[in-house]
Symmetry: D2
Subunit: 277 residues, 4 copies
């Protein structure tokens, strides 16, 4: 018996340049396409007669981009999904994942250059569109937003047992590379809403008096719901990029909470969804 | 409203050496622990009084390993899960993920050395244990098994449309870095069953007359069910590491299906679960 | 016979927080230490009596940072080098490599936050200090500056032979992740000079009418020498991150130089040093 | 003034299948080509009239492979170098780097399969060929050989100062991912010599009573010179993949040198060349 079948193409890299005179607009995307449907014969019998090759999926992404300047990743994904559903009768659900790699215009003597760009972001803008024969679901997101605060962060009053060695602290570094996805109500202005969510995530992270990663994660999610009415729910994942104070007493020195070692493994991993009740 | 909360520790690296005279047994694991439970107060109010720190989870992994030589990743995970459930009343479900990095003994003049090792595998042995207050689920797996066949692989007779450029072929290279997880019936001998699954995956991959990645994936899953009775279902994921024939006609040369470029992106991604009916 | 011996510690992660009231200054460094000297006995005879352990090198980096707020990576490296040469009579030359990971302050309602930060740069600031018993050499640098221009870039009039398939073009995308190192004259103001070099690299890249990566690389190096008098020479390495126009004619569409695939491999790799004559 | 100019193509992935009936021979290479020569005009004036595009270098690699089954990476590199020098009058020196990714035949019921393969090695075989108008230099190598020994390894009797915290030990884990390159005397049988060097590196690592990474590195280099007469010198680089014993006394447990944490950063880095005197 066969279940959970899916196939598709990942890592489709698409860059589109739209020229408005000397000013170019650059969209830089990684796209993934995933088909779920009545494809058991291809698995069981090796019968490909209903199979759209993943190479053709890739070509379709490029052809689709050629029809009109890319606007929002969400709209682009929806258009692609509709195309695939129209053409492939055995297809039941298609998922399009888009990551947009963000470029800033190079600043030349205080002016933004028209067609020269620099990567100034650690984070990508993401979108996921899942469409079946009845409905379309759209989630927007942000991936790899690397943030750190060196005050207003504590971790104390937790469970202690015989394996506890972590010291309690009222003043620690909190750092993460956050990833979040959220769902919009119908009609949300994708671009403006995304900027509002990012701004709110940064502001609420900066201002929060944190008792833990969990505590700050919830505050950030809640702030997004409070300040961006188009967002229906938000799911946030935060690895804890631990910064450990170095024990300088071994060298006859004092560490006034100033010298830290940044570690990669092991790492805490915290997540939750916050939604309107 | 809060949902889908989870927290834990990832990337816990544990190496255990067990000495049997001059012959050492080496177990090299990466472990992740994940808690789900009634922890909303830590998110909403910053109240950590029920929170076991992820640092303590890590310490517990090491302490647990100290009590007895590691045997199977599955058993080690089950023991850890039981420990955490016993101690943490708010914990409802705990998931332990283990990846075992496999070492071979160095061969010295035809003899296996007792305490010197070399990494000779691309693949890891994995196990996932999920335990709640009522039941335990165990899945075993293999990650990153890099395999290639240069014959008995075709891809043809697929859907053609105006975006099709892929040529049909009855003789291509098929390569992948497969990942699979499977569920055992109760009482399966973990170590022996894992070896049998790996052996069966390799043999069925080698021997299959492939019409597509889907076709071979199913054949491999089915072979495991046929030959390893302890396996109840198997989920397989196969990225298609495309090897494209180089067009040498541009240089006045013929490519008799001998010269290929190995590509990383974009890549096909195929998956399915095969289970006993 | 033994030659080219060297040993040291790499990947030392150091984060320093300096508090000026509510405003914190964050320095985030990766440091590597490398010793060259009369250490043959440790290799040949296993005699460690002159060997400073690499673990102690690491500790020394943290202790050294505790003595004073980090200012410039170059000065920090010079201080460390002096320390090691003073203490280790067999040490002939010490190299300190520093990469500074740059953080921006989070903007909250138009104001820079005092102690909350976001990674907004693809590039690191680097410094390399090599000191022996007679002299000190200092090189500054930038690593991973990801830049792209969608106009003023051509590649044509090159050698053609029977293996040429690349079409000539007067309008292509030029993209790279540049790395450069440069030497200052004595007395250069490290921080201000670094900012001036980065600004000049960006401006000259943006403004150049490029006939090739080589051509633009030279123009950028020359601009740095022209505009930053403290720089004596500059070595630049530029991988060519090819953006290839997609052939849409196969789908009955025209590509007006708007749709590109961004590729990672294979990649061109171009380098040169530009120095004052 | 311009110096140290070089340009070329990296990341050229070439897979060749040679069919001997049902038994296929697979060669899987990554190739890099690097030109040094009289190319200043391309940098300074944007004059490409002497520039062979890096895209053509890539095509030439594939065309060259089509002429004959690949034998040894060294010979393949030498042939390519000769081709480029013959055709490009401004070229003064060409460097060809080859990494061969090694595949094992899948074992089916005790028999090696003819055309199905599995990656069973962490290490690559490498070769570097540098040829100018007067001479050719060939270096062979091995990259990423991951090895570990859990006995016969100590580190003690080293320099102590006020920053020393590392405990001395007569029994530790020694692990590394070694990379080495070596030079052959003229006429060496490349394939057989490479196998002999790899075997000798493994055997000498396994058998050595190690006082340090330096000590074992030298012993391994010396063993290669002793046992493989074709090798004139060998350069070895060994990162120290530290395995630190976990302090279990904090939990009331004893660590009888059995429980370790494997770390990635920071890491020691040791290197030397051993040559015949």
């Amino acid at each position: 018996m066969l279940a959970d079948t899916a196939y598709g193409k990942s890592g489709i890299r698409l860059v589109q340049v739209t020229r408005q005179g000397d000013r170019h607009v650059l969209r830089d995307l990684s796209v993934a396409v995933r088909f779920e449907g009545d494809y058991d014969e291809s698995y069981v019998a090796g019968d490909n007669s209903d199979v759209l090759p993943t190479d053709t999926m890739k070509n379709t992404v490029y052809a689709h981009a050629a029809h009109a300047p890319l606007d929002e990743p969400e709209s682009f994904g929806l258009g692609l999904a509709e195309h695939f559903l129209d053409r492939n009768p055995k297809l039941q659900r298609v998922t399009i994942d888009v990551s947009e790699h963000l470029w800033a215009r190079i600043d030349v003597d205080g002016q933004e250059h028209g067609h020269a760009f620099v990567r100034e972001r650690s984070d990508d803008r993401t979108a996921q569109v899942r469409v079946d024969r009845r409905e379309a679901q759209v989630r927007a997101g942000i991936a790899g937003l690397v943030i750190l605060k060196s005050a207003q962060s504590a971790f104390s009053n937790y469970v202690h047992d015989e394996f506890t060695t972590l010291p309690e602290t009222r003043d620690r570094i909190l750092a993460t590379s956050m990833t979040a996805t959220w769902r919009y109500d119908a009609g949300a202005p994708y671009g403006a809403a995304w900027q509002a969510v990012r701004r709110t995530l940064l502001r609420s992270f900066a201002g929060h008096d944190s008792e833990s990663v969990q505590h700050t994660l919830h505050a950030m999610g809640r702030a997004v719901l409070d300040e961006v009415p188009d967002v229906a729910d938000i799911h946030i994942v935060m690895p804890n990029r631990h910064h450990l104070p170095v024990d300088l007493t071994r060298f006859g020195l004092e560490n006034r909470n100033e010298i830290f070692v940044a570690t990669e493994t092991p790492f805490g991993l915290i997540q939750a969804t916050v939604r309107r009740s």
